[in-house]
Every structure is written in C-alpha cells, then in structure tokens.
C-alpha cells in the first residue's frame, strides 16, 4: 500500500485532472519569450541568401541554361569547328574514318578500299594518291558533290 497516495484520491476523473496538470508549471513569460526566439530564427532563415536564391525562378532557369550549355551545346560546337583543315596534315586513317562515318550509308566499302589500294580495316596510304584521284573517287560515289567539296575545302 502506498501511503503517500491514498486510494480514495483517484476516485474521480477530476482528481486526476487536479493532480498532475495543476502541479506542472511553466516559467513566467515562457510562451512570449519562446515566440520571440522562434520568430527571430524564422526571420533569419527568411533573409538567408541561400534560401532567397533557391526561391528565385530566375536562378533555376539560369542554372538549367548553364547545364544545358555545358552538356549539349559546347561539346557540339567544339566538334563542329569550322577551322580550315589541311588534308595533307591529317593522318590517313582519320580521313578514312571520317568518310566512313559520315557517308557510310552511301559509299560502297569495297570501292573505297579499291581506290585506296587496301582492304577495309587495313591502313590506307594516302601518299600514293593525288588530290585529284581522291576527288575523282569521291565524286563518282553517290554522295552529293557539293557536300564533298565543302568538306574538302574546309
């Protein structure tokens, strides 16, 4: 038997109500002070540059634009450079690769190999061919002439 807590004190719900809630105190002015503290924190985070930045749609748009530029536009620009190309200075394999990739759909591989005096996959020696011979070969192929000249001149 708990002497400090007589049985008959718990007979009514009202007793329960009185017993604990009444004994719990809150420091004087606690809620007012807490409100001030909380509001200061909220106001600070409201003014924080980072928070403001995230909330500006322009920031998001700019970030997206930079990302798109970085991922798609710049690499393509570097690849599509219009700097004049000196064919003689290019390695033969690079030229063959280029033609192969760009015009494979219209060139007959064997014809190309014949013209180069090699079989596909073998290293081609361009030194043995004059520029005219190369152009003659290419103009005989189904590739549109203007494109070939444009590519060659570039």
């Amino acid at each position: 038997m708990n002497e400090k807590y007589p049985k008959n004190t718990m007979n009514k719900q009202d007793d329960l109500q009185e017993n604990i809630r009444e004994r719990m105190k809150v420091p004087e002015g606690y809620f007012e002070a807490n409100k001030v503290r909380i509001m200061q924190m909220a106001a600070q985070s409201e003014k924080s540059p980072l928070r403001l930045a995230w909330r500006q749609p322009l920031i998001w748009l700019s970030a997206a634009a930079v990302l798109a530029l970085g991922l798609f536009i710049l690499p393509k620009q570097f690849l599509d450079t219009k700097e004049p190309v000196n064919l003689e200075a290019l390695p033969t394999a690079a030229i063959v690769n280029y033609i192969d990739k760009e015009y494979a759909y219209s060139l007959e591989e064997n014809l190309l190999a014949d013209a180069m005096g090699t079989l596909p996959g073998e290293e081609v020696l361009w030194e043995g061919l004059s520029e005219d011979e190369i152009i003659d070969f290419l103009t005989d192929s189904p590739v549109e002439e203007s494109i070939l000249y444009e590519e060659y001149e570039n």
């Binding site: 038997m1 708990n2 400090k4 807590y5 049985k7 004190t9 718990m10 007979n11 719900q13 329960l16 109500q17 017993n19 604990i20 809630r21 004994r23 719990m24 105190k25 809150v26 420091p27 606690y30 809620f31 807490n34 409100k35 503290r37 909380i38 509001m39 924190m41 909220a42 106001a43 985070s45 409201e46 909330r55």
Partner: protein, 177 residues
C-alpha cells in the same frame, strides 16, 4: 476562422512570416502541453517544442491543406517527442524507463508534485499506446472528443471507451502498492 486565415497567409511568400507568427500565437501553447504530456519535464519539452516549430517553419511550403492544420502540427510534435524519448532511452547508462521518468520529473523545477504524482505519471506511461494518446489529449490538452475524433480518425464512442479504460487502469496501477 483563424486556421483559414493562417493557411491563406502561409501560402504566399510575402505573408508567410506573418502567417507563421499567427500560427505560433495560436498553437504553441497547445503543442507545449501535448509535448509535455509525453515528456513530463519542462526543459525537454522546451527543446522539443523548438525543434517542432522550426520543422513547421521549414515545412510550411509543403503543407497542402489536405488535413487540418493542427493535425499536421500534432503529428510533427508527436514525432519529435517520441524521437526524443527514443534517443534518451538509448543513451548509455540510461536507467529503466520508469526510473527515467521518475528522475526527470523529480529534478524538474517546474514540477512541484510529490512522489505520488510521479507514480501517477508512471501509471499513464504504462497504458497501451492508443489509450495513452487519448488520455493525454483529454488530460493535458483538454481536447473535446469531437476534435479528438477528427485528429485520430476514431469514433467518439471508441475514444470515450478508451479514456474510460485508461482511467480504470491508472487507478488499478496506483492501488497495486
């Protein structure tokens, strides 16, 4: 209605801070008693209330108004309080839950109850979760059954029964010794 006014204010960037201020004014005391009903002592309640209100501020933009505002606040506060309790229990060297409650209440300068009061607190803490929740809402927050019904999605009849059982169990617990 105050709740509608708060929701309208917090939905706009321009007035969100004002809406939040109104929210703190309206609900911080209720939230305090809800948390204190779980934790018992003032200092812990103060910490958890602050964390709760900060979380509420950070999450204001995600409040869609699908539930009542207080329901949303109540859930955040409950989560914070129970997470806090779990952390306390896991601390190395922590005594049993009963003793922890006893120590916390006994050392709380804002609790002037005697040992018997602490024993009552322990009795509440021993209740099954649902009864405990109902008892706390009625006892500490003095919430009406109708509001409780909305908050807990339970019928008023079931809530009354839960409260009745809770009171009976508390009496039995206290009469055991």
């Amino acid at each position: 209605m105050e709740e509608d006014q708060i929701i309208t204010l917090i939905r706009s960037d321009r007035t969100r801070l004002r809406g939040y201020e109104l929210l703190v004014d309206t609900y911080q005391e209720r939230l305090y008693w809800h948390i204190r009903g779980i934790l018992g002592n003032h200092d812990d309640t103060n910490d958890v209330l602050q964390n709760t209100l900060i979380k509420v501020w950070k999450g204001l933009t995600s409040f869609r108004g699908e539930s009542r505002l207080y329901t949303w606040l109540y859930r955040i506060a409950s989560n914070e309080a129970f997470t806090f309790l779990q952390r306390e229990k896991r601390k190395p060297g922590t005594v049993t839950e009963e003793k922890l409650i006893y120590q916390k209440l006994d050392s709380d300068p804002y609790f002037d109850g005697n040992e018997a009061m602490i024993r009552l607190w322990q009795a509440i803490d021993k209740l099954p979760e649902k009864q405990k929740e109902v008892f706390r809402l009625k006892y500490f927050e003095e919430m009406k059954y109708q509001d409780m019904s909305e908050l807990l999605s339970t019928s008023v009849g079931a809530l009354k029964a839960s409260y009745h059982h809770a009171v009976q169990k508390i009496k039995e617990f206290l009469q055991e010794d």
